[in-house]
């Protein structure tokens, strides 16, 4: 019986990364001195699942490594070891190391052995060097033995006869095994045919009689089968229950090494890894109806060669969706009936049906959109760690406050907003918050605060990064910009414009370059990234009080508010976010520059005009005279400019469709959409058009 294990890998990795995330947040929330045992338990469980899973899939490096971590955690859990800051730091390092290992395995690369060895050494040092009790130093393996598995006979005899051929089977049915019509007894009977069978039953999970559900299987087994048959043969027997149990097979004769290791462990009934797995396999079962959290894409952007991304969806959302679809189908058949033998007296019915259809369609659209919505906490959750690490490195005292983590936003936005946010937080940490001494001197609390807020406003999500640090010195910013030749000294800029200087390429006020920030690449990239998501970024800063950076983003990337405009017979969509205003032109507003370039005057500012008809070679329709038409004033790449179109048609929400999926990238066009009449309209790429017109 061979099943392709690789089909489960994706799920395994997702669960592992989720587990790591849980461990990380748990470790960070550990308050040294006042330990919440529940938190340690959470961390322990996560480590344990990772270990079990990686063992199952044969990622022994990971399993071995996690094992050491688990040992350490177990001691903490039992109170045999003090939770110290160094220990927590070592564990955090281990989480990183594990993440690295798993990522390499996922990408089918070689695990970086040097880094693993380094972390492992640190772990072992922590484990052996400063252990709480005395006996742990001797045999760390022993630590897992406390797993309360009832073993009828200690495996002493096994050690005497290492030649014994056969298999050790850890068979741990999930609660629902019996419900699928399988009976373990039958399996054992089948096993017996193949050789001499010894069973050890583990009943520690059996609830008190009053709570016992006879349809649930709370028992697990430790089987020993003396046989010459191959592993495949044994697995074959379990093939029917494979999905309803955790099954571990290990040869009886082979593990000589393990035996050596366990000899000093004397009389304790040693069950080694299997025992651990038995315990490991049990907890998931009672937790089955848990609503699953959406998958975490760890560092998705950094690991390019990744398998297809997946998304875990709350079952509630799916149920709603199915409901909606049901409604739509009903309405559709109702309309079908009306249409079959239509007469004018049914117009009222038809109208009502159409109204219903419209409502259902809108609901359906909304619930489909909802599936892609993830709480922003997927991004936020990694910042406590970042702040922890960097503030330690910088010797600053900083607390991070997260507000509105449950604000939901499109998955694509979640993935793309991460890098810009990391950059901004690093900036706040490095440049924003002052050193503790400076803060005290300025009459502020020693500990700085960075607040990360997310909330909805209109059709947008707003993410704010608020720090109570030093703020930005506008005079210094201006001086720096002049020094770098970015602006003329004589230029007069408003406060807001001065702050905007930091978005210029090559601008950095940091006196020193650190490895955290200050290379002068960055803010311009941040702004570009955010604009490419259809958002914008604002800064408010007061010297000595702090800085607030607000990012406005559309809730979804799949739908866009657009203004449809007519150029000749063709219809184009201009994204509403980039439109400042639209005005009717009059002859005297137009000016020619050097006979070619056209500008118009808008409130004391001369803006370039882009004639859509020319740039897109539109030949259809009556040519607009030079002094007719509408100018749509848009902002692209920080500069204003005017698109000259024939007519404004109307505002509507449009669904963005890719032009590249079947076709090609077209300059000046960011995508396409389907209009109400079924025809295709192109969506303008405003920055792209501005670039195109310059050429």
């Amino acid at each position: 019986m061979s099943i392709d294990m690789s089909q489960f890998h994706q799920v395994f990795f997702e669960e592992c990364f989720e587990g790591l995330e849980a461990m990380e947040s748990g470790l960070l929330s550990l308050d040294i001195g006042d330990i919440d045992s529940e938190v340690i338990n959470t961390i322990f469980r996560a480590a344990h699942s990772i270990k079990g899973g990686s063992g199952t899939f044969g990622f022994t490096v990971v399993a071995g490594y996690t094992h050491i971590m688990e040992t350490l955690l177990d001691e903490m859990r039992d109170g045999r070891r003090q939770v110290t800051k160094p220990a927590v730091d070592v564990l955090l390092g281990s989480v990183d190391c594990l993440r690295e290992m798993l990522t390499s395995i996922q990408n089918e690369e070689d695990v970086n052995a040097a880094s693993v060895a380094k972390h492992q050494a640190a772990l072992e040092l922590e484990l052996n060097g400063s252990s709480g009790g005395g006996e742990q130093t001797a045999a760390p393996v022993q630590e897992i033995v406390h797993v309360p598995v009832i073993v009828e006979e200690p495996e002493e005899e096994e050690e005497e006869i290492p030649e014994e051929q056969g298999w050790k089977i850890a068979f741990c049915p999930y609660l629902n095994l019996l419900k699928t019509g399988n009976d373990p007894v039958r399996l054992f009977r089948e096993l017996k045919v193949h050789g001499e069978l010894t069973t050890n039953v583990n009943i520690q999970d059996v609830p008190p009689f009053a709570e016992l559900d006879p349809e649930e299987c709370n028992i697990s087994w430790e089987l020993k089968l003396v046989t010459d048959d191959s592993e495949a043969t044994i697995r074959e027997i379990f093939s029917w229950v494979e999905e309803d149990c955790a099954l571990e097979l290990s040869p009886l004769a082979k593990p000589k090494k393990i035996k050596k290791a366990k000899k000093p462990v004397a009389a304790t009934p040693v069950i080694e890894a299997e025992a651990v797995k038995v315990e490991n396999a049990t907890p998931p079962a009672p937790a089955a109806p848990v609503i699953k959290k959406p998958a975490v894409e760890t560092d998705a952007s950094k690991n390019a060669p990744k398998a297809s991304s997946s998304i875990r969806v709350d079952t509630d959302k799916i149920d709603t969706l199915i409901n909606m679809v049901g409604e739509v189908v009903i309405t559709q058949s109702m309309l079908g009936l009306i249409g079959e033998n239509f007469s004018m007296d049914k117009v009222g019915l038809l109208k009502r049906g159409l109204a219903q259809l419209e409502r259902h369609t809108r609901d359906l659209q909304q619930s489909v959109m909802n599936i892609r919505m993830l709480p922003i906490s997927f991004v936020f959750s990694r910042f406590p760690r970042l702040v922890h690490d960097i503030s330690t490195k910088l010797d600053k005292k900083i607390t991070l406050k997260l507000v509105g983590e449950n604000t939901e936003v499109d998955k694509a936005v979640v993935e793309l907003i991460n890098d810009p946010l990391v950059h901004l937080i690093r900036n706040s940490l490095d440049h924003g918050i002052e050193m503790p001494a400076a803060r005290v001197a300025a009459g502020k609390p020693e500990t700085g605060t960075i607040e990360l807020k997310a909330y909805h406003r209109g059709g947008h999500i707003v993410i704010e990064i608020v720090d109570d640090g030093g703020g930005m010195d506008k005079n210094r910013l201006f001086a720096k910009a002049v020094e770098k030749g970015l602006v003329e000294e004589s230029t007069i800029l408003s406060d807001k414009q001065i702050l905007e200087l930091i978005f210029m390429p090559g601008f950095s006020t940091a006196e020193q370059l650190t490895d955290i920030s200050g290379r002068g690449v960055g803010m311009d990239v941040v702004r570009r990234n955010i604009q490419s998501l259809g958002g914008n970024i604002d800064i408010i800063s007061e010297l000595g009080k702090g800085t607030t950076i607000a990012i406005h983003l559309p809730l979804t990337l799949a739908i866009l508010d657009g203004q449809s405009v007519a150029v000749g017979d063709e219809t184009y969509i201009v994204p509403l976010v980039s439109i400042i205003e639209s005005i009717n032109i009059t002859e005297k507003m137009l000016n020619k520059v050097a006979g070619k370039g056209e500008t118009f005057k808008l409130r004391n500012e001369y803006l370039p005009i882009i004639r859509m008809r020319e740039i897109f070679n539109v030949k259809s329709g009556a040519a607009t005279k030079s002094n007719e038409g509408v100018i749509v004033v848009v902002e692209g790449q920080g500069a204003l400019c005017g698109f000259l179109v024939d007519e404004l048609l109307g505002q509507q929400q449009v669904v963005i469709k890719s032009l590249e999926a079947n076709y090609r990238r077209v300059e000046g066009v960011s995508g396409a959409t389907i209009l109400g009449d079924g025809s295709v309209a192109l969506i303008l790429d405003v920055p792209g058009l501005v670039r195109l017109s310059v050429r």
């Binding site: 070679n617 469709k657 890719s658 090609r664 000046g668 066009v669």
Partner: protein, 170 residues
């Protein structure tokens, strides 16, 4: 020509003898007859107005909405530099798909009319000679003679790859 999906009609026979024979959908451009592998044909539609895409080669007529997907329409007459024909309600668009690996693309080609489904023995296919004509023979897989008519067999993948290469040049 009805608008029914030709692939399903051809599938059964194609699978029976797929080793030695290949089925082609033949269509007419002016006086010339061309064939495409029928398994690449997704559907056959009548011509309907397209939305023009600015600043692309003249033979790329524009894009249409094919059940939610944006699909480019290419005029094969113009692509092969044949004389231009007026689009009439009888003008037909053959929707082809190409797959290189996981990436499949869909494209519509405008032809005068579709004529037949032909079964061709592999051995009957002749290599494409150098025409020395305007018709670039890079798209032509081979020639085959059916009832004294010459049918040029087109390589769908190459047709599409050329379209995409234009993009990197421009």
């Amino acid at each position: 020509m009805s608008q029914e999906n030709k692939t399903t009609a051809g599938d059964d026979t194609a699978q029976k003898s797929s080793d030695t024979t290949i089925q082609y959908l033949s269509f007419v451009l002016g006086k010339e007859e061309y064939g495409v592998d029928i398994l690449r044909v997704q559907e056959i539609r009548s011509w309907e107005p397209v939305s023009r895409v600015p600043n692309v080669p003249y033979y790329e007529k524009g894009v249409v909405n094919l059940r939610g997907a944006i699909v480019p329409i290419i005029d094969l007459r113009e692509r092969f530099s044949l004389s231009k024909a007026e689009y009439t309600p009888l003008t037909v668009v053959v929707v082809l798909q190409t797959g290189n690996g996981s990436l499949t693309r869909i494209m519509g080609v405008v032809v005068d009319s579709v004529s037949d489904v032909i079964s061709v023995e592999r051995s009957e296919i002749q290599g494409a000679p150098d025409f020395g004509t305007k018709v670039s023979n890079e798209f032509i897989n081979g020639l085959v003679s059916v009832n004294e008519r010459m049918v040029m067999l087109l390589d769908v993948d190459k047709l599409l790859i050329i379209e995409n290469m234009d993009q990197s040049e421009g």
